[in-house]
């Protein structure tokens, strides 16, 4: 493996691992805060799947890098500019409806990504994708069912669901961001080209929103930056909390 392709693979493993870690951590903030007990359990189960996925991906990233960094080193001792997660995953939970909007946008995207990644020539990526796609199917179903229930529910639930969708729309473009390094991996059959997913994503999301009697946002302006480590300030606060214990007690075991 050349230095360049090793770096490209490392960055991609970080992208995948950070998406799972940051979204998983955000969802874990719902622990004991869910609107009903069943949803408390549902959101934290989804968080558990994602954090579990991030562990295998960040371990693999550390292996590719070859500098001895572990999953914990990568999760707890990087600054926000070193994270490669999509901006959508770091957004605040907002209310339950906004969290559901984020879950819908993300899990539709993840389904597409994992379908492509299952065919990866990289055995670790393919193995990860084959496992994660089954978990994601439950996440996607959960998000779609709640979008319908809230959108086509009361005036209040519909207003909140629409607000969640509108508020997060500007972060959805960044999901499909690709770098030059990604394109090397695409031509080697290691990763799918996510930039080609956007139309199908829009169709699937629009179908759910329309069935939920919600309006598909028309705005064409999208915030970008995550692939270069440019994040919203929400990530700094998230990391401040997520990393505080490990940084206060380096090397602690429990």
């Amino acid at each position: 493996m050349s230095v360049n392709s090793q770096q490209a693979l490392f960055e991609y493993a970080l992208r995948l691992g950070d998406n799972a870690l940051i979204l998983g951590h955000r969802l874990s903030e719902w622990t004991a805060n869910g609107p009903i007990l069943e949803e408390d359990i549902a959101l934290t189960n989804i968080a558990l799947d994602l954090v579990g996925q991030s562990r295998m991906l960040l371990s693999y990233a550390g292996e590719i890098e070859g500098k001895g960094r572990t999953e914990d080193d990568l999760a707890y001792y990087r600054q926000s500019a070193e994270f490669r997660n999509a901006l959508l995953t770091e957004t605040d939970n907002g209310d339950f409806a906004q969290t559901i909007a984020r879950q819908l946008f993300y899990s539709v995207f993840a389904d597409q990504l994992l379908q492509g990644l299952q065919k990866s020539t990289d055995a670790t990526f393919a193995g990860y994708a084959a496992k994660a796609i089954k978990e994601n199917a439950y996440h996607l179903r959960h998000a779609a069912e709640w979008t319908l229930r809230l959108g086509d529910g009361t005036d209040e639930s519909k207003r909140r669901m629409q607000e969640g969708v509108d508020k997060l729309w500007m972060f959805t473009g960044d999901l499909f961001a690709t770098t030059e390094a990604d394109m090397q991996l695409v031509s080697a059959g290691i990763v799918p080209d996510v930039s080609t997913f956007r139309e199908a994503w829009l169709k699937r999301v629009s179908d759910v929103l329309t069935e939920a009697t919600l309006t598909v946002p028309e705005s064409n302006w999208f915030q970008s930056g995550s692939r270069n480590g440019i994040h919203t300030e929400a990530l700094s606060y998230l990391l401040g909390e997520m990393q505080s214990l490990a940084r206060a007690y380096p090397g602690a075991n429990w």
Binding site: I41, I46, L50, Q53, T124, K131, E135, H142
Partner: protein
């Protein structure tokens, strides 16, 4: 390549005759979250590699975030040690991805008796992922008059259901 993926991706683990004794030991290790099933019946054990001076057991997680994996690895090592295999090593393997299809009919019945409804489908049936649940029987009264409360339950592998006849809630082992 990562060590996780060294074994071929065939579905059912091959039991080499030399490792029969090891498999029998592994069958005494229970799943900490579903103690009526052992780790072999659960499909968590994916292979055993025995050489003159080394012994490796490969295990796979049911779900990516399954918190029981570390306990399972420790208990496997302890069971091997009790039976004279001092230096047994447990390694994690991700591929092929764990599926409820690996639960045997005997395991299904043990789950029922324990109060957990076993998976009602095989994952080959596409409607599993489309959310069209087939009928799930109440493990208590075997009524078919049941409804899903939530697709997420007390552990990653279970959903929460309730029976409209005996009125009891119950866990359902969801298909994956």
């Amino acid at each position: 390549m990562s060590e996780l993926f060294r074994l071929p991706a065939n579905d059912l683990p091959v039991r080499h005759p030399d490792t029969t004794a090891i498999w029998e030991i592994l069958e005494t290790v229970c799943d900490p979250e579903i103690p009526v099933l052992n780790v072999v019946e659960m499909g968590i054990v994916r292979g055993v590699e025995k050489n003159t001076d080394s012994l490796t057991v490969f295990i796979t997680p049911t779900y990516s975030g399954c918190p029981a994996m570390d306990v399972i690895a420790d208990e496997i090592k302890a069971a091997l040690k009790r039976n004279g295999f001092e230096n047994g090593v447990v390694k994690h393997q991700l591929s092929p991805a764990w599926t409820t299809d690996w639960l045997t009919p005997a395991a299904h019945e043990k789950l029922n008796v324990y109060g957990i409804a076993p998976p009602a489908h095989t994952t080959a049936e596409k409607n599993v992922l489309l959310g069209k649940n087939k009928m799930v029987k109440c493990p208590r009264c075997r009524s078919e008059h049941t409804v899903m409360v939530s697709n997420f339950g007390s552990t990653a592998c279970k959903a929460l259901w309730k029976c409209e006849d005996c009125k009891e809630p119950f866990d359902y082992f969801k298909c994956i």
